[in-house]
């Protein structure tokens, strides 16, 4: 037995292999190629969602299979996390699904890169879009071509813990409320709860449901129409961040650690963990199911309080169903889209799991089977879409966001957090935000 460990035995074998392996794997993980088309005979369909949505899809698809026994559907589904990472990898590897649920926020990016199949030639033939409004169809239209069928109406609204509010002896605000009203009631929540609960989750970094509406009230959009620039000014964002700084200072909004924990994690949402009574995150009740026990209610995003305020709300398209361009089964995929858009049973199966149904006919079909909260949700959505359609000064619904949009939304979130954590002043963070944003959109 040697007294010590010899260099030879140790390094020639173990470490040599380990080092080579370690270095190799970090590099080889990052190569890829492009390919096209799915190979198996089945039509592959994929979506993200909650268990409730999965079950609704499966139930509806089972009926479709019964009516169309020639089309064999292979279903894959998961949560939102990693859904598009997987989709990207599948496309690069040549195994993209034929039919997929698409995010309205990402449709432009994929359409412009030639991933999605244009559907114009099917509309009015095998794809019946009777009853879909123009604004709704805009959600699936990129550069004048139609790529995706919207599943329902998406509106920006606040989700309110109504029972919590009543317990504190506070009244649900009127639907025609302002940003000042929100501040007032959020401060009241903190006072009346003895400091246990904040009012509303921090919206300073929340884009889709929140800042975009604020910018539109000032006649500004989030992205310019060609998607190459931001559509709002530094002054607008400054006013916005100052509003939320004030909200945090007066305990109307929770401290940044709570906001940060909820990033990408609904279960940590301030309303879900009982730290606030109002949230801009529609996901708390988004997929047709609630993740809190509280009785929820809904309110439009507040607006007003300054000169020249105009209607900032807008109607969006829920999620979309899209076919991929490389697929050999686009025609079959369109049949399935049509089935979800028009078939009575499918509409009833899907309830509100993909948003408020897109057509009058569909909304009537599901009306009878709704829960109390579903009804409140639909009422508020109805209220908003009517207000938007009546408004004379509203901007047209936003164009589908450009590539890099999700990076910019994340940048907005992190920027607000940097201010909230006191790492940056609002002024310093503003110039950093605009610098980085132009880098992302330009490059």
């Amino acid at each position: 037995m040697g007294h010590q460990i010899s260099r030879r035995t140790l390094f020639r074998t173990a470490s040599g292999l380990a080092v080579a392996g370690a270095l190799g794997s970090s590099l080889s993980a990052c190569a890829g190629g492009t390919g096209a088309g799915s190979t198996s005979g089945d039509l592959t369909m994929t979506w993200w969602g909650s268990d409730d949505r999965h079950n609704a899809y499966k139930k509806a698809l089972a009926l479709f299979q019964k009516q169309n026994s020639k089309i064999k559907i292979r279903e894959t589904y998961q949560g939102y996390d990693g859904y598009f990472d997987k989709f990207n990898t599948n496309i690069a590897g040549g195994s993209a699904p034929d039919l997929l649920q698409m995010d309205t926020a990402l449709v432009a990016q994929y359409a412009r890169k030639g991933v999605l199949a244009p559907l114009d030639s099917y509309v009015g033939k095998s794809l019946d879009l009777t009853g879909f409004s123009k604004t709704l169809l805009a959600a699936g239209t990129v550069d004048g071509e139609f790529y995706g069928v919207p599943s329902g109406i998406g509106v920006n609204q606040l989700t309110v813990n109504r029972s919590g509010l009543e317990k504190l002896g506070l009244k649900l605000p009127d639907r025609e409320w302002t940003w000042a009203d929100l501040k007032k009631i959020a401060q009241d929540v903190h006072k009346k709860s003895g400091g246990k609960t904040y009012g509303v989750d921090d919206g300073g970094g929340s884009t889709l449901q929140c800042f975009e509406v604020f910018a539109r009230e000032k006649g500004q959009t989030f992205f310019s129409d060609d998607g190459k620039k931001l559509g709002f000014t530094s002054d607008t964002l400054q006013e916005w961040w100052e509003y939320w700084a004030e909200m945090r200072k007066t305990n109307a909004s929770p401290p940044p650690a709570i906001t940060s924990a909820a990033h990408n994690d609904l279960t940590k949402n301030a309303v879900v963990i009982g730290k606030a009574l109002f949230t801009f995150d529609s996901g708390v009740y988004g997929a047709g199911g609630s993740i809190t026990d509280a009785q929820l209610d809904f309110l439009p995003t507040p607006q007003g309080d300054f000169s020249g305020a105009r209607e900032g709300n807008f109607v969006n398209g829920g999620v979309l169903l899209c076919a991929t361009k490389a697929s050999k089964k686009v025609a079959d995929s369109v049949k399935i889209m049509n089935f979800f858009a028009q078939d009575d049973t499918a509409i009833k199966d899907m309830q509100l799991f993909r948003g408020i149904p897109p057509t009058e006919k569909a909304r009537n079909l599901i009306a009878s089977g709704l829960t109390e909260t579903d009804k409140l949700n639909m009422e508020n959505a109805d209220y908003i879409s009517q207000r938007v359609s009546k408004a004379s000064n509203a901007l047209p619904a936003p164009v589908p966001p450009p590539q890099g949009a999700d990076q910019i939304w994340d940048l907005l979130f992190q920027s607000n957090l940097a201010v909230a954590f006191g790492k940056k002043s609002i002024k310093a963070q503003l110039s950093e935000f605009f610098d980085q944003a132009s880098g992302i959109l330009g490059g």
Binding site: A22, A31, A257, N264, L417
Partner: protein, 326 residues
């Protein structure tokens, strides 16, 4: 045998042979001839390894080197952009520097702590106690579980605002309600703690090293009046330096490549404020989420070079502090 395999002529011995010797030698020669002629078949057995080496390592590496000079986005064909990706990284990308900072802190804090703990526990477990096997297994367990997503999720719960760690502090009246995971000042250190907790692998290697140390030297030292501390620093540590070196090299490489815990604990965001944006996570985000595979490939090559540099420095420095027997 050796010469025959390399194809050189086998010389006849000059001593006259008996008939049985001759027969033996003929048989040997035939066998050698057969071996020389059938030289292809060992390669057949090696083929799977070659396929793996070239198909899964060398080719993808070269491919990624090529892609690092392109704007490949996974979805459309790549276009050559020269050094753009590398320039952008160093000159225009603040998040890159955030990730470099986070990764260096992570490596330089977690590796020494982890190795110190591994050695301390290995010393404790290097004795003949009853049920010692059980203790060793128990201490190794975290490393078996460590890479798992499940553990990272547990970590997120433990160090969250309402988590066990705060409950624990609460027993001592220290609960500040701090959310360790979602504060930019502490988030990275929860990752460091997770890494240190998984000290099992270096511990096992230290234990193997300790087992090989000569008992007589320690006995002699003890008789001469050397205390436990003196024996550790004057005998154990110097004799163990090859093992320490081995662990340092491997743990540094491992730490540079850490991905899973950062991904899971920050929900894939690297937040708050990029404080947990470890390099591998940023690389992944760029490649698969932001559709910038060309840029991600460039990031991968920089990581490769940095790891190679650290390893080379380690090897050079080792000449001055590692003692070998041979």
């Amino acid at each position: 045998m050796t010469t025959a395999q390399t194809g050189e002529v086998v010389k006849e011995p000059s001593v006259p042979a008996t008939p049985s010797d001759q027969r033996e030698r003929d048989r040997m020669r035939r066998r050698l001839a057969r071996r020389r002629g059938g030289g292809w078949w060992p390669y057949l057995f090696l083929a799977p390894w070659f396929v793996g080496l070239f198909g899964l390592t060398i080719y993808p590496m070269l491919d990624s080197l090529y892609l690092s000079f392109t704007n490949f986005d996974l979805l459309t064909p790549a276009q050559w952009v020269g050094m753009d990706n590398y320039n952008r990284m160093f000159a225009e990308d603040p998040v890159f520097w955030d990730s470099v900072h986070a990764t260096l802190v992570y490596v330089l804090v977690s590796v020494p702590l982890k190795l110190a703990l591994a050695l301390a526990v290995a010393m404790l477990l290097n004795r003949d106690l009853r049920g010692i096997g059980l203790y060793r297994a128990a201490f190794y367990l975290p490393s078996l579980l460590g890479g798992a997503v499940a553990i990272a999720i547990v970590w997120r719960q433990v160090f969250g605002g309402e988590g066990l760690f705060n409950d624990f502090l609460g027993w001592f009246g220290l609960n500040t309600g701090q959310d360790w995971i979602s504060s930019p000042d502490t988030a990275l250190y929860t990752l460091v703690l997770l890494a240190v907790w998984q000290f099992g692998t270096p511990m096992v290697i230290f234990l193997a090293g300790l087992k090989q140390l000569p008992k007589d030297v320690f006995e002699a030292a003890a008789i001469d009046g050397a205390g436990a501390v003196t024996r550790f620093f004057k005998i154990t540590l110097p004799l163990l330096t090859p093992i320490v070196f081995f662990n340092v090299v491997l743990q540094i490489i491992d730490a540079f490549k850490t991905f899973t815990p950062a991904f899971v604990i920050s929900n894939g965001s690297g937040g708050p404020l990029n404080s947990t944006m470890l390099y591998s996570l940023y690389l992944y985000k760029k490649g698969f989420t932001d559709l910038q595979m060309g840029y991600a490939s460039a990031l991968a090559w920089v990581l490769f070079l940095v790891i190679a540099l650290f390893t080379a420095v380690n090897f050079i420095a080792s000449r001055y502090w590692v003692h070998y027997d041979d």
